[in-house]
């Protein structure tokens, strides 16, 4: 979809500055209309839909619907809107200065006044165990076997609806699960995400070869710090297990990794988009490219369609994508940060460094 728009819009950008703003306004609104449903769980969900697409190759599976992706973002969205106030207002401000319609960033309008979230900081340092588990739609998960049992029960009850078996709106309370089980789930999800993104990457060049350092500057080097030359041979599951073995922590740390990864990709790609927008002035096509890359849907189409103009400099390889090349570094850095944040007891960085020292380090 997006690539189609890019190919229509991009080549003509040079001579159409006259109604440039109109295009920007329209496109921005269009973008806003689709971002909220994807806001924080963008990558995760896209990986889920990828996962379902992947699963659809299994012959017996019914045509995979967009699996429940409407409920999770609904849960997340309020938090997503309010937790990035300064970033969004900064965004908003930027749009203001460059004369874009105010309505182009509706999220900025309602979320900008909120203050830094000190309250949640305090709350999330406390354990989640006692958090409102009284709701009837809330299911307390004991362990992986429990999930397996209710998943297969639902599946046996309604095999044709297997894609949608999980009741919409039901929440799962995982605080009483063993940390190792949560690690297994996180590892499964991260593995699925990275393999999906690797596959998307295959046709475009690696982010290890920056073509346009000036466009995003230091941000780019932030991301490149995580990018290894080789894929470490250790699997994500054994890597996480290893970290947990040597530096045991609580489940919040591992769960929050997912949150942080989502935020990082969001933040970075938004910022990148903003800079690219200012640099080239070709806002609309850029924003589409970024959305597509964020959702990992049409990355493969980008190289062909965006080769036609200056966007070439800001090609999708520059976007921050969690893949097999950077996941291990992201994980260890994330665990280091998160365990300091979440637990009163944490370990020295040298201990984390030792725990993660099994894979060879090749740096760019």
């Amino acid at each position: 979809m997006g690539s189609l728009v890019v190919s229509q819009v991009a080549p003509s950008l040079g001579h159409q500055h006259a109604y440039h703003h109109i295009m920007v306004g329209g496109d921005a609104q269009h973008n806003e209309s689709e971002t909220p449903t994807r806001s924080t769980t963008q990558r995760t969900q896209s990986s889920q839909s990828q996962a379902s697409a992947h699963a659809a190759t299994i012959p017996d599976r019914p045509p995979s619907p967009p699996l429940q992706p409407t409920e999770t973002p609904a849960d997340v969205r309020p938090a997503a809107g309010s937790r990035q106030p300064s970033h969004l207002s900064q965004h908003h401000h930027g749009f203001d200065q460059s004369g874009f319609p105010l309505s182009s960033d509706p999220r900025g309008l309602h979320s900008s006044p909120s203050s830094p979230r000190l309250g949640p900081t305090h709350r999330s340092t406390t354990s989640l165990g006692a958090s409102e588990a009284s709701s009837p739609s809330r299911l307390k998960v004991r362990d992986l076997a429990h999930i397996q049992s209710f998943a297969s029960q639902e599946y046996l009850a309604r095999p044709r609806l297997a894609g949608r078996i999980l009741e919409a709106g039901r929440q799962y309370e995982i605080s009483s699960m063993p940390v190792t089980d949560i690690i297994e789930m996180v590892a499964g999800l991260l593995t699925r995400i990275t393999t999906t993104n690797d596959r998307q990457h295959e046709n475009i060049h690696r982010p290890g070869t920056p073509q346009d350092g000036g466009s995003i500057g230091s941000q780019s080097s932030c991301v490149l710090a995580f990018h290894g030359k080789n894929v470490p041979s250790i699997t994500i599951l054994s890597y996480l297990s290893r970290i947990h073995k040597y530096c045991p922590t609580t489940y919040e740390v591992f769960l929050s990794l997912l949150v942080y990864f989502d935020r990082m990709t969001d933040n970075f790609n938004k910022r990148f988009l903003q800079k690219a927008t200012r640099a080239s002035g070709s806002d609309s096509s850029d924003s589409h490219a970024s959305l597509d890359t964020l959702t990992e849907q049409n990355v493969n189409d980008e190289p062909q369609s965006s080769k036609t103009d200056e966007n070439d400099d800001n090609d999708p390889g520059q976007f921050f994508v969690v893949d097999s090349y950077n996941i291990h570094r992201l994980v260890i850095a994330g665990v280091t940060c998160a365990s300091k944040f979440f637990s009163d007891v944490f370990y020295t960085n040298s201990r984390y460094a030792k725990a993660s020292s099994q894979f060879p380090i090749v740096f760019i």
């Binding site: 924080t40 300064s86 999330s124 998943a151 921050f320 260890i332």
Partner: protein
């Protein structure tokens, strides 16, 4: 991994997160729910795969039995003629 590198990664990680590490409880819950749903779907996918394989096996084996039965049936007939 050298300590200096981890320190650098930690800093970059914080920079990319704007030094905002707080995660609202609701958001963490939502991710937990999402994670369980993901895992449940994985379980179901595996079951479906297993079932499909099982069906294929079953489809293959009755056919084999039939052939065998037909052969067995034919043999006495041939003997009787």
């Amino acid at each position: 991994m050298p300590l200096a590198e981890l320190n650098n990664l930690e800093l970059q990680f914080l920079l990319l997160n704007d030094f905002r590490l707080s995660v609202p409880v609701e958001e963490l819950d939502a991710y937990g729910t999402m994670l369980v749903e993901f895992y449940a779907r994985e379980v179901i996918t595996q079951q479906q795969t297993a079932e499909a394989q099982h069906q294929q096996m079953q489809q293959a084996s009755p056919a084999g039995d039939e052939v065998y039965m037909q052969g067995a049936r034919r043999a006495p007939m041939a003997a009787s003629t």
